[in-house]
Structures are given as structure tokens and as C-alpha cells.
């Protein structure tokens, strides 16, 4: 048991995804967009790993590349020890029983023509699991698992609120009893009062079913609530990895520090007590990232060394990793 908990279920090694950009007849070849540039991390069985960063940092691309919804340019993705990148169509199908995704947009990710019951049964149909009666029973179980009623099953997605649709999306993803669930901004499109319902549902499901999460989000407070370990990305690279306490209480990378300090503090009583780090300027283009450390153009600690030497992810005194020449705990 103890052994299983420490063996990674997913190992991502040197993952790269470059997007070619269209070139015109008379235009020069545009440099590719380096959406994900040499990213490596592990997820242990049953662990909830958060992947945070701002738009364009490559977090969603990473999530989709792991499921091979986008073909990675290079790198290795090992799921339960097996390299996923080389799999043929049939093997990929098998793999997809164990790895599932919940999308951000509960409006766009459900086929509007289908009833909820059919939507939830679809994964079972695709993989030809069980008889019609068995599938019906399983769908009822799943409806109950995500907090929907039998009566909900006969309706169409457009009759549902955002939160209910997201429950349907989760039920679909759980139908095949996956071991890893990629959650791509699962609550960002929902009203605040609904977000908490879905977050609690996800936490309960993980406790009951022991599924590992790759939880992709820009919302740091939500990640802190759900995840034990956190990966912070900036402009296609990982800048910091650590467990919850390390990232939120002892952030070592200047970008993580800035990110945390930018989140509005919902307690007016402590207003103005902590100094806010307000970053200068904008995120540079991923087509033409800065040399050396990619964050140096906005970093208040940057020196000439940062533009010459790319900082590797290195282990700090408390055991967590940060990619900054000047990081210390």
C-alpha cells in the first residue's frame, strides 16, 4: 500500500509542444509557438497535482498532450510505466479507459443532441462495456455519485444550470473508472456559490475512488483547496514544484511570489498589511521567449546572469524545486 502510494502513475519527461504557425506565400517562415518547452513532472497514484499559471503558460496544452488530444512534438509520457507517445490507435483506446478529462466549459463539452443518460452511457458504449441493462444500472449509479437524480437523466444539457452540466461532465469522465483525471479549469466557468459544490464533489470523489488528479487552474485559492502538490508554469516552462505548504507558504521563485501576492485578499480587515508585488509589463510572446530565464524581463531580481544562463529546476533546502538562480527558502 505504502509502495503504491509513492510509485508515480504518470511520468512526464521533457515534454515539448510547438505549434507551427501559418505562413503566407510571400511571408517568411514564422517561428513556431513554443507552448510547452521541456516540461517534466510526476503524479503519484491517488495524488492531486495542481498545474497553475496564467493564460498562455502552456498548462492546458500540457494536459491535452498527456491525453494525446494534442500530439506532443517530443518527450515522453509514461502512464503506469508505459510510454503513451508511441501508442497506436487500439492501445490508445485502452489507455483512455484509465485517463479521463473534465473540460472547463460545461456548455461546449456536452453534445446538445443527447440526453444526460446517453451522455453518461457513451463511454461504456464506446468501449462496449456491459449489456444494455448493466449500462442502465451503471448510469444510475453514476448519476447518484455526482449528486444528480434519475429524473435528471432524461433531460438535455441545455435544460441544466452550469453546475449541473459540470456534474454530467464529471459522471462521464468517471464512467470508465479512470485512475487519472485531468481537470482543465473545471470550475472557472461557474458562479461562486456553485464552484464550492463542484470542488467539494471532486474532493469527495477522490477520497472515495482514489483517483489521481491533474488539476489545471489559474485560480490559486482553488488549487490550494484541492491539491497536495503544485506545479507552477510560466511561458511554457516549469518555474517551481513543491507540496502545498511549500508553494503557498514558502514560495521561492519570484514569479510564484508575484502570482500569490496578486490575488486579491478577501479580508478587508487586513487590507494593506502585506506589501503587494506588482509585476511590470506583460508576458512575452511564446514564439520568441527571452534568453536564459524566461521570467527575467519582468523580474525585480534579474541580473545579467539571468539572461545568459537558463536556471535549472534545483532542489532547495526544504526539498522543493525552483528554477531561479537566486531562489532560497
Amino acid at each position: 500500500m505504502n509502495d503504491a502510494a509513492t510509485t508515480p502513475i504518470l511520468e512526464v519527461r521533457h515534454l515539448v509542444k510547438h505549434f507551427d504557425r501559418p505562413r503566407g506565400l510571400f511571408r517568411r517562415v514564422a517561428p513556431p509557438l513554443r507552448a510547452v518547452d521541456d516540461v517534466s513532472f510526476d503524479i503519484k497514484a491517488g495524488e492531486a497535482l495542481g498545474l497553475v499559471g496564467e493564460s498562455g503558460c502552456g498548462k492546458s496544452t500540457t494536459g491535452r498532450a498527456i491525453l494525446r488530444l494534442i500530439e506532443p512534438t517530443s518527450g515522453e509520457i509514461r502512464f503506469q510505466g508505459e510510454d503513451v507517445t508511441g501508442l497506436d490507435a487500439a492501445a490508445l483506446r485502452r489507455l483512455r479507459r484509465d485517463m479521463q478529462i473534465v473540460f472547463q466549459d460545461p456548455y461546449g463539452s456536452l453534445d446538445p443532441k443527447m440526453t444526460v443518460r446517453r451522455l453518461i452511457a457513451e463511454p461504456l458504449r464506446i468501449h462496449r462495456i456491459g449489456s444494455a441493462a448493466e449500462r442502465r444500472r451503471r448510469v444510475s449509479e453514476l448519476l447518484d455519485l455526482v449528486g444528480l437524480t434519475e429524473e435528471h437523466g432524461d433531460r438535455h444539457p441545455h435544460e441544466f444550470s452550469g453546475g449541473q452540466r459540470q456534474r454530467v461532465g464529471i459522471a462521464r469522465a468517471l464512467a470508465l473508472e479512470p485512475k487519472l483525471l485531468v481537470l482543465d479549469e473545471p470550475v472557472s466557468a461557474l458562479d461562486i456559490s456553485i464552484q464550492a459544490q463542484i470542488l467539494n464533489l471532486l474532493i469527495d470523489l477522490r477520497d472515495r475512488l482514489g483517483i489521481a488528479f491533474l488539476f489545471i487552474s489559474h485560480d490559486l485559492a482553488v488549487v490550494r483547496y484541492v491539491c497536495e502538490r503544485v506545479v507552477v508554469m510560466y511561458l511554457g516552462v516549469i518555474v517551481e514544484i513543491g507540496d502545498r505548504a511549500a508553494i503557498f507558504d514558502r514560495p521561492a521563485h519570484p514569479y510564484t511570489q508575484a502570482l500569490l501576492s496578486s490575488v486579491p485578499n478577501p479580508d478587508p480587515a487586513s487590507r494593506g498589511q502585506s506589501r503587494r508585488i506588482v509585476l511590470e509589463g506583460d508576458q512575452p510572446s511564446a514564439a520568441n521567449p527571452p534568453s536564459g530565464c524566461r521570467f527575467r524581463t519582468r523580474c525585480w531580481k534579474a541580473t545579467s546572469r539571468c539572461s545568459e544562463e537558463t536556471p535549472p529546476l534545483r532542489r532547495l533546502a526544504d526539498g522543493h524545486l525552483a528554477a531561479c538562480h537566486y531562489a532560497e527558502v
Binding site: R96, F103, P112, P123
Partner: protein
Amino acid sequence: MNALAVLRRHPSIAIGGVIVLVVFAAALLAPWLSPHDPAAQNLVARLRPPGTAEHLLGTDRYGRDVLSRVLYGARVSLIVGPASVLIASILGLTLGLAAGYVGRKTDMLIGRVFDVMLAFPSILLALAIVAALGPSLGNMILAIGLSMTPTFGRVIRSAVIGVRARDYVASARALGAGHLFTIAVHVLPNILSAVLVVSTVAVASAILVEATMSFLGLGVPPPTATWGSMVAEGKGMFLTAPWIVISAGLPITVTVFGFSLLGDGIRDWLDPRSG
């Protein structure tokens, strides 16, 4: 939702449907409804005005009964319209799906072919094909069907691209669905309403093209009665014998209107977000 409720909620399906049904009935029952043989000439009773019991809609310049010719003319329109649309929709669906789903080079190639075809007005294209193959009912259906294919293909292609980009297609792929399954279960049903709407409206325009070609003398060869050829024959006598043009022109208008209305109604009905 039962059929009656659908019709009550979407009156345009009811009205359009009734019009189309009436025209179909007229075409089907033409041999029994027609008082005369549509081709029988009666040189004694030429250009009789309408209103007599013998010739309810009058006669043309060969003394043929206009009512009988209108009823038989419906047959040509209702064969050519749906049949050519069937050809156009099958070809358009195949090419549009290939272009929209596969994308990249396939899309570009099919797109260029469509561009070339669309550069000509569809009537011109149809005329050219008939001119090459010779006028006959079958050739006309083929010609109109081919000339309308790019229109279908374009609509289907963009509908497919729209559906393909949706997360539910990605979601099905993530669940392990193959391409054929994804197309059959997610793409096709979600573009079906677009196809159906374009089809019904296209039947209307196919009937118009058929009438135009018959009017120009490149349709079904005489003496077969068609609405288009009747308008063509009657146009020279519009001032002296207006009933010929009107009797043939009105059914064209009404039929086209009926199919368009039906198409609109079906679109509203099939959209799951309506109501």
C-alpha cells in the same frame, strides 16, 4: 412531444407541409384529376379563356387544357426538385465532411474545386452540363444536382468545422471514440439540421432552376408539360392570354414558398435550444 404539439408550436411546418402535400397530391393524382390528356391538341378550341366547365383554366395556343398541363407539370417539378437535391446532398455531405473533418490539404483541394464551380452561376453550370449530355429528365436532375453540390458542401463543411472544434468532440475522443464513431454519433446529428434546412430550401431553388431551364428550352423535351415550358410558351401571349403564364407561374411561386417555409420551420424545431 407529439406531432400535433410540434405543429402547434411551429406553424410554418404545418403551413409549408400542407402546401407541399397538396402539390404532391396533385402530381400523384394528375391522371385522375385532369379533365383532359395534357398533350391532346384541339385546334378548334385554341386560347379559350378560363372559367368554362370544359376548360377550367382555359387552353393554350394548341388548344391543350391548361389545368391538365399544370397538374402534370407538378410531376416534373417534384421529381426534379427532390431528386437533384438528393444527389447534391449526398455529394455535398461526403465532400463537406471530408473537407471539414480531415482539414488541411483535403480541405484546401475540395475548397478550390468548390471555388471553381461557384465561379459560375449554378444555372449556367447546369445548362452547360445538359448541353453536353443532351436534354432529358435524368440529365437535368444530374445537372442540377451537380451544380448545387458546392453550395451544400460549403454549408456542411463550415457546420462540420464548427462542431469539430467543440469540446464534446474532444471529449468523445478522450473517451476513446474512433473517427467513424465520432462522425456518426457527434458530428452528423449536429449538422443534420443544417443539411435538412438547406435541403428543403434547395428543393425550392432546384424547382426554380428546372423551370428556368425548361423555359429556355433545355429542360425536359416537349411535349411533356412542365411549369417552366408553359411560362415560356405563354410569355408571348401574356397580354392576350395571361392565364397561361399565371396558371404555370403561380404553382412555381407557391411550391417554392411551401418548401422554404417548411425548411424554416424544421430549422426552428430541430434546434434543441428553441423552446
